[in-house]
Protein backbone atom coordinates (compact mmCIF):
# COMPACT_ATOMS: atom_id res chain seq x y z
CA UNK A 1 0.00 0.00 0.00
CA UNK A 2 1.18 3.47 -0.81
CA UNK A 3 1.89 5.92 1.98
CA UNK A 4 -0.39 8.89 1.94
CA UNK A 5 -0.23 12.23 3.66
CA UNK A 6 -3.58 12.80 5.30
CA UNK A 7 -4.55 16.44 4.99
CA UNK A 8 -7.43 18.14 6.76
CA UNK A 9 -10.44 18.71 4.50
CA UNK A 10 -10.18 22.46 4.71
CA UNK A 11 -6.75 22.33 3.09
CA UNK A 12 -8.02 20.08 0.33
CA UNK A 13 -10.86 22.48 -0.42
CA UNK A 14 -8.39 25.35 -0.54
CA UNK A 15 -6.08 23.49 -2.88
CA UNK A 16 -8.94 22.56 -5.20
CA UNK A 17 -10.15 26.15 -5.31
CA UNK A 18 -6.68 27.42 -6.05
CA UNK A 19 -6.18 24.90 -8.84
CA UNK A 20 -9.57 25.63 -10.44
CA UNK A 21 -9.02 29.37 -10.26
CA UNK A 22 -5.47 29.25 -11.58
CA UNK A 23 -6.32 26.85 -14.37
CA UNK A 24 -9.77 28.00 -15.52
CA UNK A 25 -10.67 31.32 -13.88
CA UNK A 26 -7.92 33.89 -14.35
CA UNK A 27 -8.52 37.12 -12.39
CA UNK A 28 -10.75 35.40 -9.82
CA UNK A 29 -9.71 35.36 -6.13
CA UNK A 30 -10.00 31.78 -4.77
CA UNK A 31 -12.23 32.96 -1.90
CA UNK A 32 -14.81 34.20 -4.36
CA UNK A 33 -15.37 30.69 -5.74
CA UNK A 34 -18.20 29.24 -3.66
CA UNK A 35 -18.00 25.51 -2.92
CA UNK A 36 -21.38 24.93 -4.59
CA UNK A 37 -20.71 26.95 -7.78
CA UNK A 38 -21.69 24.77 -10.77
CA UNK A 39 -18.47 24.42 -12.75
CA UNK A 40 -20.12 22.63 -15.71
CA UNK A 41 -23.29 24.63 -16.18
CA UNK A 42 -21.31 27.87 -15.97
CA UNK A 43 -18.81 26.73 -18.56
CA UNK A 44 -15.78 26.81 -16.25
CA UNK A 45 -14.70 23.25 -16.96
CA UNK A 46 -15.27 21.74 -20.41
CA UNK A 47 -14.96 18.05 -21.16
CA UNK A 48 -11.31 18.52 -22.11
CA UNK A 49 -10.78 20.64 -19.00
CA UNK A 50 -12.22 17.81 -16.92
CA UNK A 51 -9.48 15.44 -18.05
CA UNK A 52 -6.89 17.94 -16.87
CA UNK A 53 -8.59 18.29 -13.49
CA UNK A 54 -8.74 14.53 -13.03
CA UNK A 55 -5.07 14.29 -13.97
CA UNK A 56 -4.24 16.89 -11.35
CA UNK A 57 -6.23 15.09 -8.64
CA UNK A 58 -4.41 11.89 -9.51
CA UNK A 59 -0.98 13.53 -9.19
CA UNK A 60 -1.64 15.91 -6.33
CA UNK A 61 -3.48 13.55 -3.98
CA UNK A 62 -2.08 10.26 -5.25
CA UNK A 63 -5.59 9.05 -6.00
CA UNK A 64 -5.67 6.03 -8.38
CA UNK A 65 -8.40 7.57 -10.55
CA UNK A 66 -7.86 5.00 -13.31
CA UNK A 67 -9.06 2.29 -10.94
CA UNK A 68 -12.07 4.15 -9.59
CA UNK A 69 -15.56 4.46 -10.98
CA UNK A 70 -15.68 8.14 -11.76
CA UNK A 71 -18.60 10.11 -13.10
CA UNK A 72 -18.61 13.75 -14.22
CA UNK A 73 -20.99 14.46 -11.32
CA UNK A 74 -18.03 13.93 -8.96
CA UNK A 75 -16.53 17.14 -10.30
CA UNK A 76 -19.50 19.46 -10.77
CA UNK A 77 -18.62 21.70 -7.78
CA UNK A 78 -15.66 22.29 -5.50
CA UNK A 79 -17.65 20.57 -2.74
CA UNK A 80 -18.24 17.51 -4.95
CA UNK A 81 -14.55 17.31 -5.87
CA UNK A 82 -13.58 17.60 -2.21
CA UNK A 83 -15.94 14.78 -1.33
CA UNK A 84 -14.55 12.63 -4.14
CA UNK A 85 -10.98 13.22 -2.99
CA UNK A 86 -11.94 12.65 0.64
CA UNK A 87 -13.67 9.36 -0.15
CA UNK A 88 -10.80 8.18 -2.32
CA UNK A 89 -8.22 8.93 0.36
CA UNK A 90 -10.17 7.08 3.03
CA UNK A 91 -11.28 4.19 0.79
CA UNK A 92 -10.02 0.67 1.51
CA UNK A 93 -7.07 -0.56 -0.49
CA UNK A 94 -8.89 -3.21 -2.54
CA UNK A 95 -10.57 -1.87 -5.63
CA UNK A 96 -12.26 -3.53 -8.56
CA UNK A 97 -12.11 -2.52 -12.15
CA UNK A 98 -15.76 -2.80 -13.06
Amino acid sequence: MRARVMLPFVDITRQIKEFVVTEYLPDTPPDELEADYDLFRNGVISSLGLLKLIGWIKDRFDVPVDELDIAPENFRTVAAIREFVGNALSAPAERTLQ
Binding site: L25, N42, L51
Partner: protein, 485 residues
Protein backbone atom coordinates in the same frame (compact mmCIF):
# COMPACT_ATOMS: atom_id res chain seq x y z
CA UNK B 1 -46.72 9.03 -47.29
CA UNK B 2 -45.16 7.45 -44.25
CA UNK B 3 -41.67 8.68 -43.63
CA UNK B 4 -39.17 6.60 -45.58
CA UNK B 5 -37.03 6.52 -42.47
CA UNK B 6 -39.66 4.67 -40.44
CA UNK B 7 -40.83 2.56 -43.39
CA UNK B 8 -37.34 1.24 -44.10
CA UNK B 9 -36.44 0.87 -40.41
CA UNK B 10 -39.52 -1.31 -39.88
CA UNK B 11 -38.75 -3.31 -43.02
CA UNK B 12 -35.23 -4.07 -41.72
CA UNK B 13 -36.71 -5.01 -38.34
CA UNK B 14 -39.05 -7.53 -39.95
CA UNK B 15 -36.38 -8.93 -42.26
CA UNK B 16 -33.71 -9.40 -39.62
CA UNK B 17 -35.08 -8.69 -36.14
CA UNK B 18 -31.98 -9.84 -34.28
CA UNK B 19 -29.55 -7.63 -36.25
CA UNK B 20 -27.85 -5.03 -34.04
CA UNK B 21 -29.29 -1.51 -34.33
CA UNK B 22 -27.46 0.26 -31.52
CA UNK B 23 -24.37 -0.45 -29.56
CA UNK B 24 -23.25 1.32 -26.39
CA UNK B 25 -20.55 0.78 -23.79
CA UNK B 26 -22.85 -1.59 -21.92
CA UNK B 27 -25.41 -3.05 -24.31
CA UNK B 28 -26.30 -4.08 -27.85
CA UNK B 29 -29.85 -3.29 -28.89
CA UNK B 30 -31.34 -5.31 -31.75
CA UNK B 31 -33.65 -3.90 -34.40
CA UNK B 32 -36.54 -5.82 -32.81
CA UNK B 33 -35.81 -4.41 -29.36
CA UNK B 34 -35.38 -0.83 -30.63
CA UNK B 35 -38.59 -1.09 -32.68
CA UNK B 36 -40.49 -2.39 -29.66
CA UNK B 37 -39.17 0.45 -27.49
CA UNK B 38 -40.13 2.96 -30.21
CA UNK B 39 -43.60 1.39 -30.42
CA UNK B 40 -44.07 1.72 -26.65
CA UNK B 41 -42.83 5.32 -26.74
CA UNK B 42 -45.29 6.08 -29.54
CA UNK B 43 -48.11 4.59 -27.46
CA UNK B 44 -47.16 6.74 -24.47
CA UNK B 45 -47.03 9.79 -26.75
CA UNK B 46 -50.57 9.10 -27.96
CA UNK B 47 -51.82 9.90 -24.46
CA UNK B 48 -50.41 13.45 -24.67
CA UNK B 49 -52.13 16.46 -26.26
CA UNK B 50 -51.49 16.73 -30.02
CA UNK B 51 -48.75 18.99 -31.37
CA UNK B 52 -44.96 19.38 -31.58
CA UNK B 53 -42.79 18.08 -28.75
CA UNK B 54 -39.27 18.74 -27.56
CA UNK B 55 -37.00 15.82 -26.69
CA UNK B 56 -34.45 16.81 -24.10
CA UNK B 57 -32.24 13.81 -24.06
CA UNK B 58 -28.69 12.77 -23.66
CA UNK B 59 -27.72 10.15 -26.18
CA UNK B 60 -29.00 6.71 -25.17
CA UNK B 61 -30.93 3.84 -26.77
CA UNK B 62 -34.07 5.06 -25.00
CA UNK B 63 -33.59 8.55 -26.44
CA UNK B 64 -33.21 7.10 -29.95
CA UNK B 65 -36.38 5.03 -29.41
CA UNK B 66 -38.23 8.14 -28.23
CA UNK B 67 -37.22 10.08 -31.35
CA UNK B 68 -38.38 7.21 -33.56
CA UNK B 69 -41.65 7.14 -31.60
CA UNK B 70 -42.16 10.88 -32.21
CA UNK B 71 -41.47 10.47 -35.94
CA UNK B 72 -43.89 7.55 -36.12
CA UNK B 73 -46.54 9.64 -34.34
CA UNK B 74 -46.03 12.37 -36.95
CA UNK B 75 -45.12 14.91 -34.28
CA UNK B 76 -42.66 17.68 -35.20
CA UNK B 77 -39.74 17.09 -32.90
CA UNK B 78 -37.46 19.78 -31.44
CA UNK B 79 -34.02 18.56 -30.35
CA UNK B 80 -32.65 21.43 -28.25
CA UNK B 81 -29.07 21.62 -27.02
CA UNK B 82 -29.26 19.84 -23.66
CA UNK B 83 -26.79 22.21 -22.04
CA UNK B 84 -28.74 25.38 -22.80
CA UNK B 85 -29.64 27.52 -19.78
CA UNK B 86 -33.09 26.95 -18.29
CA UNK B 87 -34.49 30.34 -19.34
CA UNK B 88 -33.27 30.03 -22.94
CA UNK B 89 -34.48 26.43 -23.10
CA UNK B 90 -37.98 27.30 -21.97
CA UNK B 91 -38.13 30.14 -24.49
CA UNK B 92 -36.90 27.89 -27.29
CA UNK B 93 -39.50 25.18 -26.61
CA UNK B 94 -42.27 27.79 -26.45
CA UNK B 95 -41.16 29.33 -29.75
CA UNK B 96 -41.24 25.92 -31.42
CA UNK B 97 -44.82 25.55 -30.23
CA UNK B 98 -44.03 22.46 -28.18
CA UNK B 99 -46.97 21.14 -26.19
CA UNK B 100 -44.69 18.93 -24.11
CA UNK B 101 -41.00 18.79 -23.23
CA UNK B 102 -40.03 15.14 -23.02
CA UNK B 103 -37.16 13.33 -21.39
CA UNK B 104 -36.19 9.72 -22.05
CA UNK B 105 -34.97 8.99 -18.52
CA UNK B 106 -35.58 10.40 -15.01
CA UNK B 107 -31.89 11.42 -14.99
CA UNK B 108 -32.35 13.58 -18.09
CA UNK B 109 -35.49 15.08 -16.56
CA UNK B 110 -33.59 15.94 -13.37
CA UNK B 111 -31.20 18.12 -15.40
CA UNK B 112 -34.03 20.53 -16.18
CA UNK B 113 -36.80 19.95 -13.61
CA UNK B 114 -38.47 23.28 -14.43
CA UNK B 115 -38.71 22.56 -18.15
CA UNK B 116 -39.39 18.83 -18.62
CA UNK B 117 -43.09 17.97 -18.50
CA UNK B 118 -43.13 14.22 -19.16
CA UNK B 119 -40.72 11.29 -19.00
CA UNK B 120 -41.34 8.76 -21.78
CA UNK B 121 -39.59 5.69 -20.43
CA UNK B 122 -40.84 3.17 -22.95
CA UNK B 123 -42.25 0.92 -20.24
CA UNK B 124 -45.60 -0.82 -20.32
CA UNK B 125 -47.21 -2.47 -23.33
CA UNK B 126 -47.06 -1.53 -26.96
CA UNK B 127 -46.89 -2.87 -30.49
CA UNK B 128 -43.81 -4.83 -31.67
CA UNK B 129 -42.96 -2.06 -34.13
CA UNK B 130 -43.98 1.62 -34.31
CA UNK B 131 -47.15 2.36 -36.29
CA UNK B 132 -46.25 5.32 -38.49
CA UNK B 133 -49.02 7.78 -39.31
CA UNK B 134 -49.20 9.42 -42.74
CA UNK B 135 -47.33 12.73 -43.14
CA UNK B 136 -46.84 15.15 -46.02
CA UNK B 137 -43.41 15.72 -47.42
CA UNK B 138 -43.58 19.36 -46.32
CA UNK B 139 -44.50 18.43 -42.74
CA UNK B 140 -41.80 19.19 -40.24
CA UNK B 141 -39.97 16.11 -38.97
CA UNK B 142 -36.99 17.44 -37.00
CA UNK B 143 -36.43 20.89 -35.54
CA UNK B 144 -32.72 21.47 -34.95
CA UNK B 145 -31.11 24.64 -33.68
CA UNK B 146 -28.28 26.88 -34.74
CA UNK B 147 -26.98 29.94 -32.98
CA UNK B 148 -28.36 33.19 -34.34
CA UNK B 149 -26.84 36.62 -34.66
CA UNK B 150 -29.72 38.17 -32.74
CA UNK B 151 -29.38 36.33 -29.46
CA UNK B 152 -31.46 33.20 -28.98
CA UNK B 153 -30.76 30.05 -31.03
CA UNK B 154 -32.61 29.87 -34.31
CA UNK B 155 -34.88 26.91 -34.91
CA UNK B 156 -34.29 25.07 -38.19
CA UNK B 157 -37.31 22.94 -39.16
CA UNK B 158 -36.49 20.08 -41.52
CA UNK B 159 -39.37 18.73 -43.60
CA UNK B 160 -39.98 14.99 -43.82
CA UNK B 161 -39.13 15.07 -47.54
CA UNK B 162 -35.77 16.76 -46.90
CA UNK B 163 -34.89 14.17 -44.24
CA UNK B 164 -35.89 11.35 -46.59
CA UNK B 165 -33.73 12.70 -49.43
CA UNK B 166 -30.73 13.29 -47.19
CA UNK B 167 -30.84 9.91 -45.44
CA UNK B 168 -31.31 8.34 -48.88
CA UNK B 169 -28.20 10.03 -50.25
CA UNK B 170 -26.09 9.28 -47.17
CA UNK B 171 -27.07 5.61 -47.11
CA UNK B 172 -26.05 5.18 -50.75
CA UNK B 173 -22.91 7.30 -50.61
CA UNK B 174 -21.39 5.54 -47.62
CA UNK B 175 -23.14 2.17 -47.78
CA UNK B 176 -24.80 2.23 -44.35
CA UNK B 177 -26.57 -1.12 -44.74
CA UNK B 178 -26.66 -4.40 -42.77
CA UNK B 179 -23.30 -5.45 -41.35
CA UNK B 180 -21.97 -1.90 -41.24
CA UNK B 181 -21.15 -0.11 -37.98
CA UNK B 182 -21.32 3.68 -37.97
CA UNK B 183 -19.60 5.61 -35.21
CA UNK B 184 -21.76 8.35 -33.72
CA UNK B 185 -19.73 10.90 -31.80
CA UNK B 186 -21.94 14.00 -32.12
CA UNK B 187 -24.63 14.72 -29.52
CA UNK B 188 -28.16 13.73 -30.54
CA UNK B 189 -29.24 17.32 -31.30
CA UNK B 190 -26.47 17.84 -33.91
CA UNK B 191 -27.26 17.76 -37.62
CA UNK B 192 -24.45 15.17 -38.03
CA UNK B 193 -26.80 12.60 -36.46
CA UNK B 194 -28.96 12.69 -39.60
CA UNK B 195 -26.16 10.67 -41.17
CA UNK B 196 -24.64 8.80 -38.21
CA UNK B 197 -27.87 7.72 -36.54
CA UNK B 198 -30.94 8.24 -38.69
CA UNK B 199 -29.57 7.33 -42.14
CA UNK B 200 -27.93 4.25 -40.60
CA UNK B 201 -31.13 3.04 -38.92
CA UNK B 202 -32.99 3.58 -42.19
CA UNK B 203 -30.53 1.40 -44.08
CA UNK B 204 -30.11 -1.47 -41.63
CA UNK B 205 -26.68 -0.69 -40.17
CA UNK B 206 -25.66 -0.50 -36.54
CA UNK B 207 -24.92 2.80 -34.76
CA UNK B 208 -22.18 2.83 -32.12
CA UNK B 209 -23.31 5.53 -29.66
CA UNK B 210 -20.47 7.24 -27.82
CA UNK B 211 -21.28 7.77 -24.14
CA UNK B 212 -21.47 11.58 -23.88
CA UNK B 213 -20.09 11.50 -20.33
CA UNK B 214 -16.86 9.90 -21.60
CA UNK B 215 -16.64 11.59 -24.99
CA UNK B 216 -13.46 13.50 -24.11
CA UNK B 217 -11.63 10.45 -22.77
CA UNK B 218 -9.22 9.22 -25.50
CA UNK B 219 -8.83 5.76 -23.96
CA UNK B 220 -12.57 5.15 -23.76
CA UNK B 221 -13.24 6.53 -27.26
CA UNK B 222 -10.43 4.45 -28.80
CA UNK B 223 -11.43 1.25 -26.95
CA UNK B 224 -15.10 1.69 -27.82
CA UNK B 225 -14.22 2.40 -31.46
CA UNK B 226 -12.14 -0.79 -31.64
CA UNK B 227 -14.62 -2.99 -29.78
CA UNK B 228 -17.49 -1.79 -31.99
CA UNK B 229 -15.65 -2.81 -35.21
CA UNK B 230 -16.54 0.50 -36.81
CA UNK B 231 -16.70 0.63 -40.62
CA UNK B 232 -17.86 4.22 -41.19
CA UNK B 233 -16.93 7.26 -39.11
CA UNK B 234 -17.91 10.92 -39.39
CA UNK B 235 -16.60 13.54 -37.02
CA UNK B 236 -15.12 16.90 -36.22
CA UNK B 237 -11.32 17.17 -35.98
CA UNK B 238 -11.42 16.67 -32.20
CA UNK B 239 -12.70 13.12 -32.65
CA UNK B 240 -9.73 12.22 -34.86
CA UNK B 241 -7.44 13.77 -32.29
CA UNK B 242 -8.94 11.48 -29.62
CA UNK B 243 -8.38 8.46 -31.90
CA UNK B 244 -4.76 9.41 -32.58
CA UNK B 245 -3.23 6.42 -30.80
CA UNK B 246 -5.03 3.71 -32.78
CA UNK B 247 -4.91 2.00 -36.17
CA UNK B 248 -8.27 0.95 -37.57
CA UNK B 249 -8.02 -1.26 -40.68
CA UNK B 250 -11.75 -2.16 -40.60
CA UNK B 251 -12.91 1.35 -41.47
CA UNK B 252 -14.14 1.88 -45.06
CA UNK B 253 -15.13 5.56 -44.95
CA UNK B 254 -13.71 8.43 -42.93
CA UNK B 255 -15.68 11.67 -43.11
CA UNK B 256 -14.06 14.84 -41.81
CA UNK B 257 -16.45 17.67 -41.17
CA UNK B 258 -16.77 20.94 -39.34
CA UNK B 259 -13.74 23.08 -38.74
CA UNK B 260 -10.50 23.00 -40.66
CA UNK B 261 -8.61 19.89 -39.62
CA UNK B 262 -5.03 20.83 -38.64
CA UNK B 263 -2.52 19.44 -41.14
CA UNK B 264 -0.64 17.11 -38.71
CA UNK B 265 -3.95 15.52 -37.70
CA UNK B 266 -5.08 15.15 -41.30
CA UNK B 267 -1.74 13.76 -42.41
CA UNK B 268 -2.08 10.90 -39.91
CA UNK B 269 -5.44 9.71 -41.24
CA UNK B 270 -4.17 7.39 -44.04
CA UNK B 271 -1.91 5.54 -41.59
CA UNK B 272 -4.61 5.17 -38.94
CA UNK B 273 -7.34 4.21 -41.42
CA UNK B 274 -5.26 2.29 -44.00
CA UNK B 275 -8.20 0.86 -45.98
CA UNK B 276 -10.57 3.81 -45.78
CA UNK B 277 -11.67 6.32 -48.37
CA UNK B 278 -11.24 9.82 -46.93
CA UNK B 279 -13.83 12.55 -47.44
CA UNK B 280 -14.01 16.21 -46.55
CA UNK B 281 -17.69 17.13 -46.25
CA UNK B 282 -19.03 20.65 -46.03
CA UNK B 283 -22.48 21.64 -44.86
CA UNK B 284 -24.55 23.47 -42.30
CA UNK B 285 -27.71 22.82 -40.31
CA UNK B 286 -29.95 24.87 -42.62
CA UNK B 287 -29.05 23.02 -45.83
CA UNK B 288 -27.38 19.86 -44.52
CA UNK B 289 -24.33 18.63 -46.46
CA UNK B 290 -23.78 20.44 -49.73
CA UNK B 291 -20.21 19.82 -50.95
CA UNK B 292 -17.79 16.93 -50.67
CA UNK B 293 -14.27 16.12 -51.63
CA UNK B 294 -12.47 12.80 -51.56
CA UNK B 295 -8.78 13.10 -50.75
CA UNK B 296 -5.84 10.71 -50.83
CA UNK B 297 -2.76 10.28 -48.65
CA UNK B 298 -0.74 12.86 -50.58
CA UNK B 299 -3.44 15.48 -50.28
CA UNK B 300 -3.96 14.63 -46.61
CA UNK B 301 -0.32 15.42 -45.89
CA UNK B 302 -0.17 18.46 -48.17
CA UNK B 303 -0.01 22.01 -46.83
CA UNK B 304 -2.97 24.36 -46.67
CA UNK B 305 -6.67 23.64 -46.32
CA UNK B 306 -8.51 20.91 -48.21
CA UNK B 307 -10.89 21.99 -50.96
CA UNK B 308 -14.61 21.57 -50.27
CA UNK B 309 -14.88 19.83 -53.62
CA UNK B 310 -17.99 19.51 -55.73
CA UNK B 311 -21.71 19.82 -54.98
CA UNK B 312 -23.58 16.72 -53.82
CA UNK B 313 -26.09 15.30 -56.32
CA UNK B 314 -28.98 17.75 -56.68
CA UNK B 315 -27.14 20.59 -54.95
CA UNK B 316 -26.72 23.92 -56.77
CA UNK B 317 -24.22 26.63 -55.82
CA UNK B 318 -24.05 30.35 -56.57
CA UNK B 319 -21.58 33.04 -55.62
CA UNK B 320 -21.90 36.56 -54.26
CA UNK B 321 -24.86 38.95 -54.25
CA UNK B 322 -25.36 38.56 -58.02
CA UNK B 323 -25.72 34.77 -57.70
CA UNK B 324 -22.91 34.21 -60.19
CA UNK B 325 -22.64 30.59 -61.36
CA UNK B 326 -18.85 30.55 -60.83
CA UNK B 327 -16.91 32.53 -58.24
CA UNK B 328 -14.86 35.47 -59.49
CA UNK B 329 -11.10 34.94 -59.10
CA UNK B 330 -10.72 37.27 -56.16
CA UNK B 331 -9.90 36.90 -52.48
CA UNK B 332 -13.24 35.51 -51.42
CA UNK B 333 -16.90 35.55 -52.41
CA UNK B 334 -19.84 34.35 -50.35
CA UNK B 335 -21.08 30.86 -51.18
CA UNK B 336 -24.83 30.39 -51.57
CA UNK B 337 -26.35 26.94 -51.89
CA UNK B 338 -29.65 25.29 -52.62
CA UNK B 339 -29.94 21.66 -51.55
CA UNK B 340 -32.68 19.02 -51.74
CA UNK B 341 -32.20 18.63 -47.99
CA UNK B 342 -32.73 22.20 -46.85
CA UNK B 343 -35.14 23.93 -44.47
CA UNK B 344 -37.84 26.26 -45.74
CA UNK B 345 -36.74 28.91 -43.22
CA UNK B 346 -36.28 29.57 -39.52
CA UNK B 347 -38.87 29.53 -36.78
CA UNK B 348 -38.06 32.89 -35.23
CA UNK B 349 -39.89 35.85 -33.72
CA UNK B 350 -37.50 38.15 -35.58
CA UNK B 351 -38.43 38.36 -39.29
CA UNK B 352 -35.10 40.01 -40.12
CA UNK B 353 -33.23 36.95 -38.86
CA UNK B 354 -35.42 34.72 -41.00
CA UNK B 355 -35.04 36.60 -44.23
CA UNK B 356 -31.40 37.67 -43.94
CA UNK B 357 -29.95 34.25 -44.58
CA UNK B 358 -32.24 33.29 -47.45
CA UNK B 359 -32.48 35.08 -50.78
CA UNK B 360 -34.84 34.32 -53.65
CA UNK B 361 -33.25 34.24 -57.08
CA UNK B 362 -34.82 35.44 -60.36
CA UNK B 363 -36.03 31.89 -61.06
CA UNK B 364 -37.74 31.68 -57.66
CA UNK B 365 -35.12 29.40 -56.18
CA UNK B 366 -34.59 29.98 -52.46
CA UNK B 367 -30.85 30.20 -51.82
CA UNK B 368 -29.21 29.91 -48.44
CA UNK B 369 -26.40 32.36 -47.71
CA UNK B 370 -23.78 30.22 -45.99
CA UNK B 371 -21.81 33.19 -44.69
CA UNK B 372 -18.68 31.33 -45.81
CA UNK B 373 -16.31 33.04 -48.20
CA UNK B 374 -14.81 30.81 -50.88
CA UNK B 375 -12.14 31.17 -53.51
CA UNK B 376 -11.38 29.14 -56.61
CA UNK B 377 -7.88 27.96 -57.47
CA UNK B 378 -6.40 27.58 -60.95
CA UNK B 379 -7.79 24.04 -61.20
CA UNK B 380 -11.29 25.28 -60.44
CA UNK B 381 -11.46 23.75 -56.97
CA UNK B 382 -13.26 25.67 -54.21
CA UNK B 383 -11.66 26.52 -50.87
CA UNK B 384 -13.09 28.15 -47.77
CA UNK B 385 -11.24 31.33 -46.85
CA UNK B 386 -13.23 32.62 -43.87
CA UNK B 387 -16.56 33.96 -42.76
CA UNK B 388 -18.24 37.20 -43.64
CA UNK B 389 -19.47 37.82 -40.13
CA UNK B 390 -18.51 37.10 -36.55
CA UNK B 391 -19.45 33.45 -36.51
CA UNK B 392 -17.10 30.60 -35.80
CA UNK B 393 -17.22 27.08 -34.43
CA UNK B 394 -16.32 26.08 -30.89
CA UNK B 395 -16.26 22.32 -30.26
CA UNK B 396 -18.30 21.87 -33.46
CA UNK B 397 -20.98 24.37 -32.43
CA UNK B 398 -21.48 27.58 -34.36
CA UNK B 399 -21.19 30.57 -32.04
CA UNK B 400 -21.42 34.25 -32.77
CA UNK B 401 -18.97 36.63 -31.14
CA UNK B 402 -21.33 39.60 -31.39
CA UNK B 403 -24.09 37.62 -29.71
CA UNK B 404 -21.81 36.83 -26.76
CA UNK B 405 -20.74 40.46 -26.52
CA UNK B 406 -24.36 41.57 -26.57
CA UNK B 407 -25.18 39.19 -23.72
CA UNK B 408 -22.26 40.52 -21.67
CA UNK B 409 -23.36 44.11 -22.33
CA UNK B 410 -26.85 43.28 -21.04
CA UNK B 411 -25.28 43.00 -17.57
CA UNK B 412 -25.90 46.20 -15.61
CA UNK B 413 -22.29 46.67 -14.53
CA UNK B 414 -20.68 46.11 -17.93
CA UNK B 415 -19.58 49.09 -20.00
CA UNK B 416 -17.56 47.43 -22.76
CA UNK B 417 -17.16 43.82 -23.85
CA UNK B 418 -15.16 42.15 -26.59
CA UNK B 419 -14.82 38.44 -27.27
CA UNK B 420 -11.63 37.26 -28.95
CA UNK B 421 -11.14 33.72 -30.27
CA UNK B 422 -7.83 31.85 -30.20
CA UNK B 423 -7.08 28.49 -31.77
CA UNK B 424 -5.34 26.04 -29.45
CA UNK B 425 -4.58 22.79 -31.32
CA UNK B 426 -7.92 21.47 -32.59
CA UNK B 427 -9.81 23.57 -30.06
CA UNK B 428 -11.02 27.14 -30.35
CA UNK B 429 -11.07 29.03 -27.05
CA UNK B 430 -12.91 32.28 -26.44
CA UNK B 431 -11.62 35.02 -24.18
CA UNK B 432 -13.96 37.79 -23.10
CA UNK B 433 -12.50 41.17 -22.17
CA UNK B 434 -14.92 43.12 -20.04
CA UNK B 435 -14.76 46.61 -18.59
CA UNK B 436 -17.12 47.44 -15.74
CA UNK B 437 -18.69 50.59 -14.37
CA UNK B 438 -16.07 50.84 -11.65
CA UNK B 439 -13.36 48.89 -9.82
CA UNK B 440 -14.68 45.95 -7.84
CA UNK B 441 -18.17 46.06 -9.33
CA UNK B 442 -17.74 43.02 -11.56
CA UNK B 443 -16.95 39.42 -10.79
CA UNK B 444 -15.92 36.95 -13.45
CA UNK B 445 -17.96 34.23 -11.72
CA UNK B 446 -21.16 36.28 -11.68
CA UNK B 447 -20.63 37.19 -15.35
CA UNK B 448 -20.27 33.50 -16.10
CA UNK B 449 -23.55 32.72 -14.40
CA UNK B 450 -25.09 35.58 -16.38
CA UNK B 451 -23.77 34.05 -19.64
CA UNK B 452 -24.78 30.50 -18.68
CA UNK B 453 -28.40 31.64 -18.29
CA UNK B 454 -28.46 33.08 -21.80
CA UNK B 455 -26.01 31.22 -24.03
CA UNK B 456 -25.28 27.66 -25.15
CA UNK B 457 -22.38 26.21 -23.19
CA UNK B 458 -19.92 26.37 -26.09
CA UNK B 459 -20.50 30.13 -26.27
CA UNK B 460 -19.56 30.76 -22.63
CA UNK B 461 -16.04 32.23 -22.84
CA UNK B 462 -13.25 29.96 -21.59
CA UNK B 463 -11.72 32.96 -19.85
CA UNK B 464 -13.26 36.22 -18.68
CA UNK B 465 -10.70 38.99 -18.16
CA UNK B 466 -11.71 42.12 -16.30
CA UNK B 467 -9.99 45.26 -17.57
CA UNK B 468 -10.07 48.84 -16.33
CA UNK B 469 -8.81 50.78 -19.36
CA UNK B 470 -11.20 51.75 -22.17
CA UNK B 471 -10.90 49.47 -25.20
CA UNK B 472 -8.79 50.46 -28.20
CA UNK B 473 -10.94 51.60 -31.10
CA UNK B 474 -10.46 51.71 -34.85
CA UNK B 475 -10.64 54.97 -36.80
CA UNK B 476 -14.33 54.24 -37.41
CA UNK B 477 -15.01 53.90 -33.71
CA UNK B 478 -15.41 50.13 -33.60
CA UNK B 479 -13.72 48.08 -30.90
CA UNK B 480 -10.37 46.97 -32.31
CA UNK B 481 -10.36 43.27 -31.46
CA UNK B 482 -6.87 42.75 -32.85
CA UNK B 483 -5.34 45.18 -30.34
CA UNK B 484 -7.14 43.82 -27.29
CA UNK B 485 -5.44 41.28 -25.11
Amino acid sequence: MTTELLRDFIAHTKREPSAPALRTRTEIVSYAELAARAGRAQKELDALPPGPVAVLARKSPQAVALVLGCLAAGRPLLLPPIDLGTVALGELCARAGCVEVLAATPEDAAEHPDVVTTVIGGHGDGPAVPQPVAVDEQDTAFMLTTSGSTGAPKIVPLPAGAVARFTGWAGEAFGLGPGEVVFNYAPLNFDLCLLDVWATLRHGGCVALVDPALAANPRYVTDFFTASRVTVVQGVPMLYQLLEEGVFPGVRHVVVTGDHAPVPLRAGLPRRFPRARLHNVYGCTETNDSFWHEFDAAEAAGPGPLPIGRPLPGVVAAFGPDLAPVPPDDGGTELLVWTPFQTAGYVTPDPAAATGRFVTGPDGRRWFRTGDLVRRDAAGRLFLVGRDDFQLKVRGIRVNLEQIERVLLEHDDVVEAAVVPAVDGAETRLTAFVRGTGPGRLSGLRLRTHCAMRLPRAAIPSAIRLVEQPFPRTSTGKVDRKRIG
